[in-house]
């Protein structure tokens, strides 16, 4: 993404090969992903049904959080979730989904449990100052539920059934969830990569239906 022209060239070069199913970028690059100079990439992403996959990771161009440079890897891993949140807001408020309404964005290794409160806050802030971004005509949460998908590892919640059920209920869209193991990384969530106490109805959707819907080229492979 340092050079959108070259990125566009590479996407064009691979587009006919259906073994490529998404465009992978980092959660923390040089600038936020909503910026207009990236839009040629999103135009192709929409055209070729390649979701934009944002994976945890940084170029370390700026501090991993607004608080500054942390001492520990543990803190860095913690604040990484915030970078995904900033990317969601950037993509929405710069108007990417007004221009490319069919673009899908997949958050990879972002954590999941922050989504409800993040969406509440986004809706509230948008209601307060939407005059600044009049091209965003719907609540951010509605755009998030429609255009974003999230991988289920790490889930970042207590294992009890009630909390998991509440979080799923608050996110309010079962089609957002995608199974992921993070294999072979050490953050892999134990022997069973499916977070405990997920309702059965979600498990089959997140393992099969949702990935096929999110990555349409999976059905075209070979």
């Amino acid at each position: 993404m340092q050079d959108p022209d070259l990125a566009v060239e590479e996407i064009e070069r691979r587009a006919a090969d259906h073994r490529f199913v998404s465009i992978l970028v980092l959660a923390q690059g040089e600038t936020l992903l909503g910026r207009r100079h990236f839009w040629p990439v999103y135009r192709l992403a929409e055209k070729y049904k390649l979701p934009l996959a944002i994976h945890a990771g940084t170029q370390y161009r700026q501090a991993p959080s607004s608080a500054g440079w942390p001492s520990h890897r543990y803190e860095y891993y913690f604040v990484e979730a915030q970078a995904f949140q900033a990317q969601i807001l950037s993509l929405i408020y710069e108007g990417v989904f007004g221009k490319f309404p069919n673009l899908k964005v997949v958050l990879m290794e972002s954590g999941v449990s922050w989504l409800p409160a993040f969406m509440w806050r986004a809706n509230k802030t948008w209601r307060g100052v939407r005059v600044e971004v009049p091209w965003v005509e719907r609540e951010p949460a509605a755009i998030i539920r429609e255009n974003f998908r999230v991988t289920m590892q790490p889930f970042d919640a207590p294992g009890d059934a009630k909390s998991v059920e509440d979080i799923i209920d608050q996110i309010g869209s079962e089609k957002m969830f995608l199974f992921a193991s993070d294999y072979p990384h050490w953050q892999f969530d134990g022997d069973d990569p499916i977070p405990p106490n997920l309702p059965n109805s979600i498990i089959s959707k997140m393992c099969v239906d949702n990935p096929l819907e999110t990555f349409p080229r999976l059905s075209l492979a070979n």
């Binding site: 923390q28 607004s66 440079w69 001492s71 520990h72 890897r73 891993y77 449990s113 986004a122 971004v133």
Partner: protein
């Protein structure tokens, strides 16, 4: 968002005397003009302020990097009829806010002059000292409901400690305020002498959102709009919570209390779950931590409620409050800013009388000891 009161309350709308009197943990007084500070500021620094103004890590003088939707981020009805900026006229603040909402105590949070973000540390310390005096002379002494905070810039650790000592001798301040956006995260060891002194004096650390420490407001870079920057305030607070806990500040200073102001509280459960979830995996990196992060959070940290979260359904706000813990929450209004929370309407979920009492009064009185 809460309903905005853009007219004076009629007599029949005023709260009845039997209602709970509230502690408002975030009230913003404002300088009428820089001249307010002259009597507290040595000539040298008055001259400096006139000739050089602020030196901040932002692109403009006397304004913010993002236009903030509302002039001086204020409620449109909060401009005093006497002139001057919102929050600069005590009589008007009493009439519009303190009296009708039955505020028993209000804690002053001063943001003028980007007080925490001055790059010239000596100038910053002089301004902080002047504003600490101004809070007493212009506000607390004129209305004893209003409690002052000791403002210090943590990047000048020695200057900060000298100011804390000076104010502690005066004895009228209820907390020490430091910046959420300084050169380094708050947990870093260079700031520990401040925490050591705060613990000895029994003063909580108050951390109000805002300021410009030079780092991008988000971990992904600089956003384009205020609507993004506004939400990044909660990120900063969450990152500072993680820094303090993971560096072991509560472990090292077991009696120290932290109050995070204007970060809201919706983000807390997931932040604490994430810290706990990854604690086992990173444990060997942080052997100084004896307990799970959530245990430190539940003992050492309090959070003011504004801007209150507005979930789609009332029961979700209820779950959120239960997850955070009712004892952690301190009511705040943010008067006179545009995103003000009105204590009568902000909590859109039923609370018992005992719960209301904790959030609106007794939790704050216990933290601040009044």
């Amino acid at each position: 968002m809460s309903e905005v009161i853009d007219r004076p309350l009629r007599e029949d709308e005023k709260p009845v005397a039997s209602r709970l009197r509230i502690v408002d943990c975030d009230v913003h007084p404002s300088l009428h003009s820089f001249d307010d500070l002259n009597e507290f500021l040595p000539k040298r620094w008055q001259q400096h302020l006139k000739e050089y103004g602020s030196h901040l890590r932002t692109p403009y003088l006397f304004t913010t990097p993002y236009p903030r939707s509302s002039p001086l981020i204020a409620r449109r009805d909060a401009w005093p009829p006497s002139g001057g900026p919102p929050g600069s006229d005590l009589a008007f603040m009493q009439k519009q806010h303190l009296d009708p909402l039955d505020v028993e105590f209000g804690i002053l949070q001063v943001l003028d002059l980007f007080i925490f973000s001055q790059q010239n540390l000596e100038f910053g310390a002089a301004i902080q000292r002047a504003i600490n005096d101004w809070q007493l002379a212009f506000w607390s002494h004129r209305d004893p409901r209003l409690k002052a905070s000791i403002l210090v810039g943590q990047d000048g650790v020695d200057l900060a400690i000298a100011e804390i000592e000076r104010c502690a001798k005066i004895g009228e301040y209820v907390q020490i305020n430091v910046s959420p956006r300084a050169n380094e995260p708050l947990g870093r060891r260079r700031y520990w002498p401040i925490y050591e002194r705060a613990q000895e004096l029994g003063l909580p650390l108050g951390i109000h959102v805002g300021g410009y420490g030079g780092h991008a407001p988000t971990g992904g870079g600089w956003p384009s709009y205020y609507v993004e920057e506004h939400q990044s305030n909660a990120h900063t607070i969450a990152a500072q919570l993680a820094s303090l806990v993971i560096e072991g500040v509560p472990e090292r200073f077991p009696k120290l209390k932290f109050v995070f102001i204007e970060g809201g509280f919706g983000w807390i459960p997931s932040a604490v779950w994430r810290m706990d979830q990854h604690f086992e995996r990173f444990r060997s990196e942080v052997p100084h931590l004896k307990r799970k992060p959530s245990e430190y959070v539940r003992e050492h940290f309090w959070f003011t409620t504004q801007p209150i979260d507005e979930p789609d359904e009332a029961r979700q706000l209820r779950s959120l409050i239960e997850w955070v813990g009712i004892d952690r929450l301190l009511f705040s209004s943010d008067y006179p800013h545009w995103d003000f929370d009105d204590p009568r309407f902000a909590f859109k979920t039923p609370l018992t009388e005992a719960e209301r009492k904790k959030i609106f009064s007794t939790n704050a009185r216990a933290v601040y000891k009044f």
